[in-house]
Subunit: 356 residues, 4 copies
Amino acid sequence: MARAPVYYADYLKLDRLLTSQQPESLKEGVDAHDEMLFIIVHQAYELWFKQILHELDRVERDFGAVPVSDDAMARIVHDLERIHEILKLTVAQLDVLETMTPFDFLDFRDLLMPASGFQSLQFRAIETRLGLAAETRVPLDDKAIEERLSPADRTALSEARERPTVFVMLDQWLARTPFLDWGGASFRDAYRQAVEKHLARDADFIRADRAMPEEKRERELKAIDKAIASFAAIFAPEGDGGGWRLSGPAVQAALFITLYRDKPAVQPAFRLLATLMDIDETMTLWRYRHALMVERMIGVKIGTGGSSGHAYLRTTAERHRVFADLFRLSTFLIPRAAVPDLPASVQARLGFVYST
Amino acid sequence: MARAPVYYADYLKLDRLLTSQQPESLKEGVDAHDEMLFIIVHQAYELWFKQILHELDRVERDFGAVPVSDDAMARIVHDLERIHEILKLTVAQLDVLETMTPFDFLDFRDLLMPASGFQSLQFRAIETRLGLAAETRVPLDDKAIEERLSPADRTALSEARERPTVFVMLDQWLARTPFLDWGGASFRDAYRQAVEKHLARDADFIRADRAMPEEKRERELKAIDKAIASFAAIFAPEGDGGGWRLSGPAVQAALFITLYRDKPAVQPAFRLLATLMDIDETMTLWRYRHALMVERMIGVKIGTGGSSGHAYLRTTAERHRVFADLFRLSTFLIPRAAVPDLPASVQARLGFVYST
Amino acid sequence: MARAPVYYADYLKLDRLLTSQQPESLKEGVDAHDEMLFIIVHQAYELWFKQILHELDRVERDFGAVPVSDDAMARIVHDLERIHEILKLTVAQLDVLETMTPFDFLDFRDLLMPASGFQSLQFRAIETRLGLAAETRVPLDDKAIEERLSPADRTALSEARERPTVFVMLDQWLARTPFLDWGGASFRDAYRQAVEKHLARDADFIRADRAMPEEKRERELKAIDKAIASFAAIFAPEGDGGGWRLSGPAVQAALFITLYRDKPAVQPAFRLLATLMDIDETMTLWRYRHALMVERMIGVKIGTGGSSGHAYLRTTAERHRVFADLFRLSTFLIPRAAVPDLPASVQARLGFVYST
Amino acid sequence: MARAPVYYADYLKLDRLLTSQQPESLKEGVDAHDEMLFIIVHQAYELWFKQILHELDRVERDFGAVPVSDDAMARIVHDLERIHEILKLTVAQLDVLETMTPFDFLDFRDLLMPASGFQSLQFRAIETRLGLAAETRVPLDDKAIEERLSPADRTALSEARERPTVFVMLDQWLARTPFLDWGGASFRDAYRQAVEKHLARDADFIRADRAMPEEKRERELKAIDKAIASFAAIFAPEGDGGGWRLSGPAVQAALFITLYRDKPAVQPAFRLLATLMDIDETMTLWRYRHALMVERMIGVKIGTGGSSGHAYLRTTAERHRVFADLFRLSTFLIPRAAVPDLPASVQARLGFVYST
């Protein structure tokens, strides 16, 4: 109550914030108007990255608990939706950065060597905490990205690696889903049959299409065989996953959620999966657009960090995706009419107390 | 050449930047997850405001010179286009802030009293340097906005007021336009006649429209009379401006630019006017959307700064517009076919040396 | 199975779609390149309006049922979220339209008289079906908007008026909320006490603020009194609403939802309210931005429909808001710690069967 | 004057436009709410594509003339900027389409076979008229894309191929640039020397970097050698282009424009190049994001057109780029200080008559 009145500039630490732009060109007495933009764009990115990590902290707390309470699930979805909103903004920020031309960038580019955006600890930490495995991370010039980091940042990244990732928490939470035991049968068996029947129908369709060139027909049929095999693998009791990163039970649960999404108890879970895909997609998009921008800015020349920048970025666009399995699920969806009916006992458990 | 290698985190002063978020709720031991977002959004705004001021610095340097060189004009347009791009981003940032609900805001809102976004010196400075006159600024709770500022910030704002504004530099630069002297006649006379003829035609059209209710007809005819009077005023040799903030010669020049925009020597000037309107419009939009957000967040309750927040913001949306005169120009445009032909002597001067 | 193969252009009726642009300027032999843009932007708007109406059809079906099933609630939220996404796109479309300059518009503007966007039946129908009451609609030039419509369109709008609006369905659905009866006490009583206590605290705060000018203090205290009165009115058993458009029980339910949003049974309802505010806000924004654009395009001259366009649009921006009551709720929120605890019996009913 | 009054709905042909949505599911009696969205999104795309083609028509007329007048150049830039603005909107439209889930798409997906977005004649025509060569177009399932088109559409695409493309007109216009003859020396020689000196400095920098692993050093030096060779090729009198699609003189002119962009006579040309890169980048982005969406929607299953959809789309994202050469230019930029000074005679010709 006896608190001192708060002043805007003090609250936001503007004395520090607005004196943290110290262009190298200024130090060198070089005229490089756009270095200020370059600094500020990157600082804005780092502020947003901090916010994303702040959200991931609460997600970790909420999602790591067993069981995840209903209140916590609402918060998790909300926090991830906010992360998605922030990521959309980071894509939009590229519009501002692109008002700098390659020629203007040259005014100060060499002064920054060998600094590089690859050294953003926070961005690496976001990738890691979402679930990008160290061994999946594409090496830069044949070296782990860590070699570019300062010892302190390297330690910080190691620590981030020790924490439970969103991917792993998702995998475990999905695998605990209580609705897959359908009494006598199981969702697994009922759905596997339905999918196989449906894919077989697709194969018949292809075989019957006389206009289709032979070579193509073979390719498509092979794709269906591969789909069936990959599906069988995740449904096998001791399956090796068949190329899935999620465990078999987790994939089964994700399918269940996708199919019965409108049931009250499933809705939050459905939002969760959708938002994780949004995040994955927007990060992929950001990487890709970033790659295009770097190409426009630098051409084929070496990046400020000595890397062959845009090619690297383009590679990571795909290979750093964390939730690709969720996208793959679409392969195994079947039309509404072919989806097995929920047993009454399961159906009842998906509603609210007051609606029984 | 013997420069020390630059490291990303050092270059961006991340040690300062990322430790400048110090939530009041943390100090008070209150759990308020969203205060971090609140801080970071505002810090991101302040970073962008700094960038806008950085651009306005160069605009002032370039646009204050007499004459403004052709190279400088290209830079001015470029810098203003960048400001517009940044403003679009500041509108987009509201999407992120709106992921905070009013109920979550309550967790820490009272702790911030009486701090308020009205205390953003940089935002005030941007308005001022674009050309918002001190006497036009809407008072907040019947007091000048300065009374909310710290002495240091008040001084800084006073200093900003001493600098040449974009509006004033525009006014003077327009008034110097060398193409309005058409030898015997003048652009002024030729165009005034053309406009009056055209507005008279509009009036005839209204008088002839029998379906139009009497009351409305009178209103519309009165509007046309008013338009003619206001137009006459700016064209009178010693005109008082007739409600225009720009001087008569400046308005004439702006009209000239709008009509003959495709001529090489006029194109950069046309871009300049269009970009200033973009800036005005996007700032207006930002204020308006900000007002809507504050209403959603706070209801009719008092703002953190003690103001009746959203109503005030909505008022400023209109009244803080700086370049409204440029929007008014449309009133005096006439169809292409009615526009006077350029005298050959003027036409020649609008081209390039090599194209003569 | 024996269906004929579908061809893209046939499926989309491109032969009709792409021949539906018939510029008036072409008929008159006038060169007006931008009329095509003008037509296509408006046609794109009409396509999206049709989609919004399509969503509102299903919302009406789902939301009009008693009770609204859990599955239906999921669909309603989804459909409204889609409408919001479409509305964001309609705002973005203005960026494209603004590439047309006022001078280019003049090339064909007079040829369109007296057609006007005010004649868009679909837009009127959207407003109506969301819940804009006929008597609230701002008259255009002192006449009902219908007078501008063709007889067929007028009939269609009348029919739209007969249908249950989203606002009315919301009001009724909220009023049926089963969680407000707290046994001995009621949510109403418990919360009213909590709010009054809180607003009294605010009043104390204002009285104790010596730095606050007398005039302002009175104004703020009066605002609080008014807030208490308006709140009392909705909580009175036979309240006249105190300026609320929603019924007392509906407002109470909306408050309940806002405060206990994280409970599973409340989450979909919370999403619903949030999305309706998003829709209201984005439509308001669209109208406002549209007004700015019209001003830029036309100046103070008469609109194509003979109205004083932009001033009218600006008025509707505020007065055509449908869900303003939901924004007002924020006034009556109190900090988490002051919110009454849910009775155990109610709490239990808000969870899932399986989580009891 | 005696024109009949125009009515909004008639002007926009709404009777045709709004009856052109004929869902296949409706014909089959299948309940598929989202097919309407699917149709309307695609129709909105086709409307925008028509607008883009309308702009390309005028660009072709203006840019195909010899010489291109100054007025025409202003229009060309304006029209291309509008195309860019439309393309940004088409990216935003994906946000709306993504509100349809894969499971909802399944409700009607099979009914559309074998129709596919690949059959959009207008999109193909846009690519073609910008300058995508028939031989560069990635075949779909080993066949030319034309094989999917109806005979009429195939003919129309053939006709589009006969027209001068933006790429070709750009190439020719650049090659005619009158400012490359510097009297005794030439821009070509002066700049080649400057670049080679600069790249040699880069090579020295790499050789001196002891921390760089051997393998990497070799790779980077090889890249520089390759850059010099490619550069030499375009500067050779009878060069084969060294991998450039633009002719040698055109590349030289594009470099000239990039370096001396602020000179009045160069500014419109600089805008032109920047806008073409914007268009290329946004189309690339659209293709890429489209690919991600298709993957999310369909998984690895066959597309509606029988293609392995998203993989194909991803391939075209890169390979259908038309103005990649402009991005490559950045490789050959050198810092401002190293850029050769313009001879006085050339400098004079780049200004306006009145500024001499």
